[in-house]
């Protein structure tokens, strides 16, 4: 059975229909890159998957369970799904160690004595073990974003969501974050990412989804999608994102 099954999803903000009849299947181990212009509904789709937005129609099923912002057990569900935002959202008053271990401790995943070991493991994955005692404000944007990823990894999620995680970074810091994500992909993490990084979509994802006006306009294998786009909208999008 597919890990994520989205059927006929509809999402509105007041009169504005942001997502219209979207259906999408994500298998275990898939790396799905969602591309599209801003306002196409791609970030909202991610937020719906995490239960941050209530939905007006259709269904989202993750691991066999119906997901919504009002579902029972939303807390437990979110412990299994990690999300990383454009603005890193580290907690400024906690050092890196506490940022990473706060949730595992509070949700009872681990006992305090094992917390440091867990943090060390997660931070090693993102290559920031030496910053374990640093404050967020002392880190560069790229490092903060990697800590945000480590913070999710410490929860041992089955699914990771990335919402334009490199868009707020200076260009020279984008690479280090993408590299971490590439490593995670190679280790078999299921990932859904909203991104503007076409090369990353082409080289790492095994599925690309193009959203346009709240709909999935085209989806398929990256080579086919980006090499041979079928719709004029995707053609226009690809040529505009090259420049």
């Amino acid at each position: 059975m597919a890990l994520v099954e989205i059927k006929n999803l509809r999402k509105t903000f007041g009169k504005l229909e942001v997502i219209k009849d979207v259906s999408l299947t994500v298998e275990q181990g898939d790396i799905v890159a969602i591309i599209g212009r801003s306002g196409s509904g791609k970030s909202t789709l991610l937020r719906c998957i995490n239960g941050l937005e209530d939905i007006q129609g259709g269904s989202i099923t993750v691991g066999g369970r119906d997901v919504s912002a009002k579902m029972a057990g939303l807390k437990e569900y979110r412990q299994r799904v990690g999300i990383v935002f454009q603005q890193f959202n580290l907690f400024p008053h906690m050092n890196v160690l506490k940022n990473v271990t706060l949730a595992p401790i509070l949700t009872g995943k681990i006992k305090k004595p094992q917390a440091r070991k867990l943090a060390e493991d997660s931070l090693t994955t993102v290559g920031l073990l030496d910053k374990i005692e640093a404050w967020p404000e002392q880190l560069s944007g790229g490092q903060q974003q990697r800590v945000a990823i480590a913070r999710c990894l410490a929860m041992k999620p089955e699914l990771m969501l990335f919402d334009e995680v490199t868009s707020a970074l200076d260009p020279e810091l984008v690479g280090e974050v993408l590299k971490v994500m590439e490593d995670m992909a190679r280790q078999g993490m299921t990932m859904i990412l909203v991104t503007h990084e076409m090369n990353f979509a082409r080289n790492v994802a095994n599925k690309v989804v193009f959203m346009h006006h709240g709909r999935i306009w085209e989806q398929g294998h990256p080579d086919q999608m980006l090499g041979d786009p079928q719709t004029p909208e995707l053609q226009a999008f690809i040529s505009s994102s090259r420049t």
């Binding site: 569900y77 603005q87 907690f91 400024p92 008053h93 949700t107 404050w135 967020p136 404000e137 002392q138």
Partner: protein, 220 residues
């Protein structure tokens, strides 16, 4: 000629007065803080009846002199069967007074925390109260710490109005000693000095606590 000597006999009375002043300020400070925190949290829940009640409370306290508040509690509440001795009446009045200002300060502090921080907490699977206690509270406290501590200093000085109902705090002591020694200048110079020292001591204490509690670096 300045002559402080006649005041020495009243050393104990002054110390008693200082202690009562500190006691009043600390009781009203802590109780008002608790009251303000509860009111600020209730205000955030958006219940219309509760909001109206709390907003009315704040506006009434903010827009009338504290002296009248203390009179009403001391002289008027006994009519409905609530009899407070002066100290207790003053403590209640000052708590209500401080609580109203604290409510607004704390509310602004909670509102100063970006929604994204709360969201990040929820996304990690934390419960609502855990997000409040671990994610929101400390940064919010840091943002309002200066206004909160200044408000406490105003409360400390404001305890002097308890003398209007003869609660035996420092200002009342001054009036008593003045009436017995007729050394008005010396008496009021002395207690002014004591108030200034108490204020400086609290400012230093708050500064030290602030340095210890809020150590994380922030963006400028």
């Amino acid at each position: 000629m300045l002559n402080f000597r006649p005041l020495w006999r009243y050393e104990d009375a002054f110390i008693e007065g200082i202690l009562t002043t500190l006691e009043l300020a600390l009781i009203a400070g802590l109780a008002g803080l608790a009251l303000g925190l509860v009111c600020a949290l209730v205000l955030g829940r958006g219940n219309r009846a509760a909001n109206l009640l709390i907003r009315s409370y704040i506006e009434i306290i903010r827009n009338t002199p504290p002296v009248l508040q203390i009179f009403i509690i001391f002289f008027v509440l006994p009519r409905i069967g609530l009899r407070f001795p002066p100290f207790e009446a003053a403590a209640v009045a000052l708590t209500l007074y401080f609580g109203a200002f604290v409510t607004e300060i704390i509310r602004s502090g909670l509102d100063s925390i970006p929604k994204a921080q709360v969201e990040a907490g929820h996304c990690l699977g934390l419960a609502g109260w855990q997000v409040f206690a671990h994610v929101v509270l400390m940064p919010a406290m840091r943002n309002i710490y200066p206004s909160l501590t200044s408000q406490f200093i105003l409360l400390l000085l404001g305890t002097s109005i308890a003398s209007f109902i003869s609660a035996e705090e420092l200002f009342h002591t001054a009036a008593v000693v003045d009436s017995r020694t007729f050394r008005s200048f010396e008496v009021y110079a002395l207690i002014s000095g004591i108030y200034v020292l108490m204020v400086i001591a609290f400012r230093l204490l708050f500064f030290a606590i602030g340095r210890l509690a809020f150590r994380w670096p922030v963006a400028r």
